[in-house]
Assembly symmetry: none
């Protein structure tokens, strides 16, 4: 059966404690979800903040391959007219093909939280849906507190479902809002809704009992045709159902159609991408996508795996783009280094054993080459012997100061050598790293005007052992672009300026390699 | 129904990638599990390492309140006698009342991994159990690969179960070893085993499909009387069923008897304790026990919670020893700010509209008060009017430099005013922020020696709009501790030094408030 996939990473996921997506982050995640084959992408809550409105105005200018973008809001305010409701207007102004509104399907919640009458809540549901339909929108109705509402006043929940259907809802999504329901409850409630209405049903679950996925599956088993969730199970409190576990389970274990096999092979990459933009570490034990999901530690598991790959694995990890690993050491194996060198077209020139040693020694110091393929390619080239760096930095100084309450000032001085010539210059910046970048480029562009087209696209900092506080090692990832392609570089040090400096230097050096046409031209582009 | 609780944190949990327990860690965890009311504590694999043997010899000297300690191992080696088997001898030498042995209930696994005949595998099961029973041990049999074995060769799985029962097994624990089974499979397989044998059944599940808990519940529903799992779902690959979610669900949602209510109230504390000894951060989204499990971020959730505690919670968090929290964030409205001010005891003194305006303006500049409750409390106090800061920083200068290939050097100079007095000093550090912290504390401790007990526990950096590259705004979160409590502060700026500086300043200022006893004493401590 074809299952409709509805992602709310950008709305419910953005409600995760400690997570805050910029409009740019949201667009980048939406593009990846679209390529993965998600059918609906809920972009945010335009009524609640300007960042979400920016997302919708930029999303309206793009073509989406698979996904319809949806704006999320609530039914109209009590005792008003839908046409006068500012939040409904904000939803329609988003110009999305689909609008999702949350409506209370629980008499208790309507009376206690909305502080209104059961009848007025029904009117709010009806008016809001009719208003959206008149505006030509597909209307998805999130039946908030549906399962708790059933237990509290079954007849009222039924009335809500019938009103929503009569008003023209395109989907009725049954929500276990507080996450406290068991699969048996979900199954029974979904079957009931299917008796009351012919509107296609969806299921929206939370993980407060560690049952979000089981509940999503129970809903599908009982007849729901849409599943809602988030990448990596982000979301309010304990999070939502993790679509990146639900989808492979529906497809590989239950035989439902969700995405194409090539798309399914992007599961692990997508999980890691969203974690990166959310600036969290993906839990290595995450099903399907986690770094440990197919890792084998116990001696008898490792030995079993060497006899048959089914010994301690339930699927071939390649189906979801993951790898199995035997944990002899925590570090990379020789075969992964060889595979990477091959993919860069440097296989023949590479002394794999020496490269592996170098990688291990750098990883011990906090480097990591996932997402920093340009630094990895430079590492291999530097081991070739014939390689000559195009420039050398002799020294630099960075300072940041504030005097008598004036604005902070950051300045950098750099001295660079190219061949026999030395150039010494200085620049200001918004912060110490930006000052250093500007001074270095000022010096380099004197020798290499082609660097003018290169831009830094992204700068990320990760504290590696944050309990060491300000003495912790720091990893810096820099993403650069020449307008056509992007490349990533990495630096690590207990000094954030030095870590940034290493990544910036690699980035300039790789740009020069590219400009001279000696780079691999593939693989290095991430 | 009374459910038997079997914990394998110290064995399966110790197989988590990156986790290593000392014998002392294991004893401390076992004591807490015992106090919590766990019935069986699997201590380890005495055949595999000396650390586990040390655990068993020390465990034998203690009195346990509720728990029986169990030693874990496998059936005898093929084509030998049980009496000659070294691993079985090591199990009996542990002097535990209970021994758990893993036995293959899958013909495919016996042939492929054990490389033996189906008949010899049956003999290995029978001999090993009889040997343990002769030695006077309670014998728990982990039926490895039981569910996959059923699918592969049902008759053989049945034979294994009958042989184990005839040999005297006290418990037969059905294992979804590879974690790839669905609840329907677990239910059917458990019902089948119950038809074949009268030995009480247990259920042992893994989380590879994100269904470990659902599968454990399906086993119990189908007649299993024992549930196996680990604290926090530690374990090989994606981990085991999390007993600290399974137990509250069985007890609070399904009405089974597991532990006493006072013990259940230790759930969150136990989860945090095990994470601490495992040296991992407990995922804040962990059901029941996580820091975010009852935290409310969306404005309409915060406002709902202020009207009724059932609005967005499925249980009272006190039942499992957790708290609910309203998070201050850009998604929150006025009611969240008021609720937070009330929880800090500052409700009467707070002009909520002005505070909300201040919060929103700071959030636009990249501040975020989730996890920075101390900065939020300072914000409210500074709005009071009568508040006076205990010190003032006049100015500072930080530099980082490298000269002619020498190691990088970082130094900071600060000038501080307390009352009429000015003090000017300097320090070095591993990086610019650490130099600044050291110089500032050197200056402050001259006036406030009580700051000596304060330590920075954690330092996190988040690049907010990373596509602005090195001009991006940066958010710094600092966690500090005085040995008793911890508090979080935040700073934001396009200059990383300035952002760190704002967070550090708040942290010192809050430490002084605490030392003087004017802080709220609750709420601010995160």
């Amino acid at each position: 059966m074809q299952i409709s996939l509805y992602d709310t990473t950008l709305r419910d996921g953005a409600q995760t404690e400690g997570i805050s997506f910029s409009a740019e982050d949201k667009l980048r995640i939406a593009e990846r979800l679209d390529a993965f084959g998600i059918h609906y992408i809920e972009g945010g809550f335009p009524g609640s903040n300007p960042k979400d409105r920016e997302f919708f105005s930029r999303a309206a200018e793009r073509d989406w391959q698979h996904a319809r973008i949806s704006a999320f809001g609530a039914t109209r305010y009590k005792e008003t007219r839908a046409a006068d409701d500012e939040n409904l207007r904000a939803l329609i102004d988003c110009q999305t093909p689909t609008v999702t509104i949350v409506a209370k399907f629980s008499r208790f919640q309507a009376e206690t939280v909305l502080e209104t009458t059961p009848a007025e809540n029904l009117a709010m549901i009806r008016d809001s849906i009719e208003h959206l339909k008149k505006a030509g929108r597909e209307a998805i109705v999130d039946a908030e507190h549906y399962f708790d509402g059933l237990a509290h006043d079954r007849a009222y929940a039924e009335q809500c479902a019938r009103v929503a259907a009569d008003a023209g809802a395109d989907w009725l999504v049954l929500c276990d809002t507080n996450g406290g329901s068991l699969p048996t409850t979900i199954r029974e409630g979904t079957l009931a809704a299917a008796r009351w209405t012919e509107v296609p049903l969806g299921i929206h679950t939370h993980d407060d009992l560690d049952l979000a996925e089981a509940n999503a599956l129970a809903g599908i088993e009982a007849g729901a045709r849409q599943v809602q969730g988030t990448a990596n199970g982000l979301g309010e409190r304990c999070g939502n159902a993790n679509l990146l576990s639900v989808i492979p389970t529906l497809q590989l274990k239950l035989g439902h159609e969700c995405v194409e096999p090539e798309q399914l092979r992007q599961t692990a990459a997508l999980a890691r991408y969203v974690a990166e933009l959310a600036n969290v570490t993906l839990d290595p034990q995450t099903p399907f996508a986690g770094h440990s999901a197919f890792a084998h530690k116990a001696g008898y598991h490792g030995s079993g795996m060497s006899k048959h790959s089914d010994a301690y694995q339930h699927i071939d990890p390649a189906l979801v783009g993951n790898d199995s690993r035997i944990l002899i050491s925590e570090l990379s194996g020789r075969s992964s280094v060889v595979a990477k060198a091959d993919s860069l077209g440097l296989g023949d020139a590479t002394d794999a054993a020496r490269a592996l040693e170098e990688v291990k020694s750098l990883e011990e110091r906090g480097f990591q080459f996932e997402g920093a393929e340009a630094s990895f390619e430079l590492l291999l080239r530097r081991l070739e012997g014939e390689y000559q760096a195009p420039f050398e930095f002799v020294d630099f100084l960075v300072l940041a100061e504030t005097r008598e309450g004036r604005e902070m000032l950051s300045e950098a001085m750099v001295k660079i050598r190219v061949g026999e010539e030395i150039f010494h210059t200085a620049a200001e910046g918004n912060g110490p790293v930006s000052a250093l970048d500007r001074a270095a480029r000022k010096a380099l562009e004197r020798f290499f005007p082609e660097l003018g087209s290169m831009q830094l696209a992204d700068y990320k900092v990760r504290i590696l052992n944050s309990s060491e506080a300000t003495d912790a090692a720091v990893r810096v990832l820099v993403q650069s672009s020449d307008g056509e392609d992007e490349w990533g570089t990495v630096g690590s040090s207990s000094n954030i300026i030095e870590a940034s400096w290493i990544a910036l230097k690699d980035s300039y050096e790789y740009a020069l390699l590219r400009a001279r046409g000696t780079q691999s031209g593939r693989g290095a582009v991430s």
